[in-house]
Symmetry: C2
Subunit: 194 residues, 2 copies
């Protein structure tokens, strides 16, 4: 399948387990969880995301992800729940964000523009609205990668080096502690939903 054909959005998703922040702001590697793989794959497939990269440098966790994928894409799971196979078929475990970017570049013939997310707006750097990013995706002129962090969010170095930081999902209540699964669902809906 040539990914540059068709009218599906040119959007890729990356869930980053390193480099992310812990509660104190230190850079750490978090563990991959089964439910992050499943939930976000289902949301990604529902909204037409092309690939969902699970980014972790820990090779043993790639084995975990591949075991989940094998169960649902070739094992008894596929027969029992074919729609779950369809969701998980968009998942790729990769060692680094650079590897995810390289894969998209190969598929699209062009390096994706990186859209990073955080629960708080940065100081001293502009954010782009989700409506702007929705417009870029509708134009289909370039591929994009939406990047979400686990733990307490993406490391500052990664936020600062991206092409654009999206505005936080402000709810107006002053409380913003969504799970990464909920944040992924809402960003995808705002970017691609009807």
């Amino acid at each position: 399948m040539s990914s540059s054909s068709g009218s599906d959005p040119r959007l890729y998703l990356a869930l980053v387990h390193y480099p992310v922040k812990d509660r104190a702001g230190a850079t750490v590697t978090t563990s991959v969880t089964n439910l992050d793989v499943h939930d976000i794959a289902r949301s990604a497939r529902t909204f037409g995301v092309r690939r969902y990269y699970v980014v972790t440098p820990i090779e043993l966790q790639h084995t975990l992800v591949r075991r989940i994928l094998d169960h649902w894409t070739t094992g008894s799971g596929r027969k029992r729940m074919p729609e779950r196979w369809e969701a998980l078929s968009v998942v790729d475990p990769v060692v680094s964000l650079e590897d995810a970017i390289a894969d998209v570049t190969q598929r699209e013939g062009e390096r994706p523009r990186l859209l990073v997310t955080a629960a708080r707006a940065p100081e001293g750097r502009p954010v782009r609205t989700v409506a702007e990013a929705r417009g870029w995706l509708a134009e289909r002129a370039h591929p994009y990668m939406l990047i979400l962090g686990t733990g307490h969010g993406l490391a500052e170095s990664l936020l600062a080096s991206a092409d654009h930081q999206l505005e936080p999902l402000d709810s107006g209540t002053g409380y913003n502690h969504l799970s990464v699964r909920a944040a992924a669902a809402i960003y995808l809906d705002r970017l691609l939903g009807r």
Copy 2:
């Protein structure tokens, strides 16, 4: 706190574990999961939902929910992650949807209008758009309860007896198998998000 004061939305949320459908359409009771309690509480609190009812007739599962709540609202968890306590403080385990409705009625002085959700539009019954429901909530004239099903969705009897069924979360891809956690996040964002 009087819940009829203030400008927060008059919206309640119920996650139903009975009566729901299994894959074959039979009415079953599903198990409460730790993550449904956490994730949906965080989304509910983020968007200003007044109470989040976890509905199950299985008393043993109330013990499970209360153990989660106790850990995070009075135990070491509260000290370590106060924002999690704030989210979980909106959670109430109840035996039946009727009990949830009775609780809202007592708080609001008025029975809530029931908004049910499903992944597919019903045959022979109208659905209301989320935009309409957003308008009702903005008016603040009446309390509402958004009802989400676990398993393969709310039982037909429950769908048919509600005040309004909301349109499915159509993504335009023809694939719609969101997790209930993702669906809750997206419905709340569409109903109450900025």
